[in-house]
Symmetry: C2
Subunit: 210 residues, 2 copies
DNA sequence: TAGATTGTTAATCGATTAACAATC
DNA sequence: TAGATTGTTAATCGATTAACAATC
């Protein structure tokens, strides 16, 4: 009963969620694990197993109700609530993430963006946000009740910068910096390492096939 | 002898490579798998096993020569050559990737960027590049000998756009679009799905721990 | 009832790790 | 030679999948 959830499950749930959204837009009310699996190139038994860690959402003989399952996954993923995001570093990547529609859609709301560069501080970004001084980060985290920091600073200041944010109670980090961060074990880090993806692609291209 | 290489190996090699670069900057000439493992939070046996798929690079009793291993991994990953990159879509993400230092450093050279938006076409990006018309994509791929396309277009035109690029002989794709792409099996796709990372983080934060 | 599809168990497959002989 | 560390084998651990009884 205390069955352990395999690590890849969270991402797959997000993929199921995306598909269900599509189905619901098309007006479908019901789907089966096998039709989802076909669409996603996954075995239907994997989808059923993944869902089974969290409950029985389907009905034997008929499948899953699109809307219902969508709402359930929303809850499982924790995106039925709004998360307050702080972008740390107003470089190219940081800037690109402000107003990134993929995020706001799912309840990740960028509340502020900070940088150390005097020339950037004060820059107005679209209508809502202004680049703020990284030295005010602590204050911002508290006032805006930031949950998640998105780290997009140069590698050499990454650890130092995130330490500051940790002091002020951030509990989640999306890390775009090509470096492993040291954090207390109750803080979650997800790495988004673009340059690793390029190298993995290159590897597969030279060892071509599989 | 026909031992199969586990999928996670490519990414780890890229991580080892990054660390070796750091070591070489510090002037270290030799390292052991256990010192690397400690640094990277990996078991030393995993590092040795990963490397062993490609050869024996170390010396018993002394370890690995930093420079030598670096060069070997460079070759294994296929980054001892320059890759010609085309950015497809001059939105925020696409723009952010032009001149992204993490890429050019490792031999991924952005040769061109295309978009469908008339207002964007012709825009000068730093000194080198101009946003070109996506309708010229085929021509550009051939003339500039593009190897890898980086897809950053809206989801609804993603498949159609990549189909064009495939026709012109692209063999690798970095996909930033939240959608599974259909490609021939000799074409490699690496997904960089930022919004999945946010959801995976959210999941871990609500199911906190582990 | 007959057909469909779930939820779950057990078997299989794949990746990591411990352990150690080989050897510098 | 003694100490260190590799390369590799075998054991373990974790994730996926096939198969099927339960049930709508």
């Amino acid at each position: 009963m205390i069955e352990k959830i395999p690590k890849p499950v969270a991402r797959r749930l997000a993929i199921y969620y995306r598909l269900l959204k599509e189905y619901s837009k098309l007006g479908l009310s019901t789907i089966s694990s096998s039709s989802m699996g076909e669409r996603l190139n996954l075995k239907s038994s994997q989808i059923r197993k993944d869902l089974s860690y969290f409950g029985g959402f389907g009905k034997r003989g008929t499948g899953y109700k699109v809307m219902e399952l969508m709402k359930s996954i929303e809850r499982i993923l924790g995106i039925d609530q709004a998360w307050h995001i702080l972008i740390i570093g107003a470089g190219k990547i940081g800037m690109a993430l402000v107003n990134y529609s993929g995020l706001s859609q799912d309840g990740f709301v960028v509340k502020a963006i900070v940088d150390a560069d005097k020339d950037k501080i004060g820059t107005l970004i679209d209508t809502q946000l202004v680049v703020e001084d990284v030295r005010k980060m602590g204050q911002i985290i508290q006032e805006k009740k930031i949950d998640i920091g998105v780290l997009c600073v140069p590698p050499d200041v990454a650890q130092k910068t995130i330490n500051e944010a940790l002091k002020c109670g951030i509990k989640g980090i999306i890390n775009f910096v090509p470096k492993r961060l040291e954090v207390p074990e109750d803080v979650m880090v997800e790495d988004v390492q673009i340059s690793l993806s390029f190298k993995a692609l290159s590897f597969r291209m030279v060892h071509n096939g599989k």
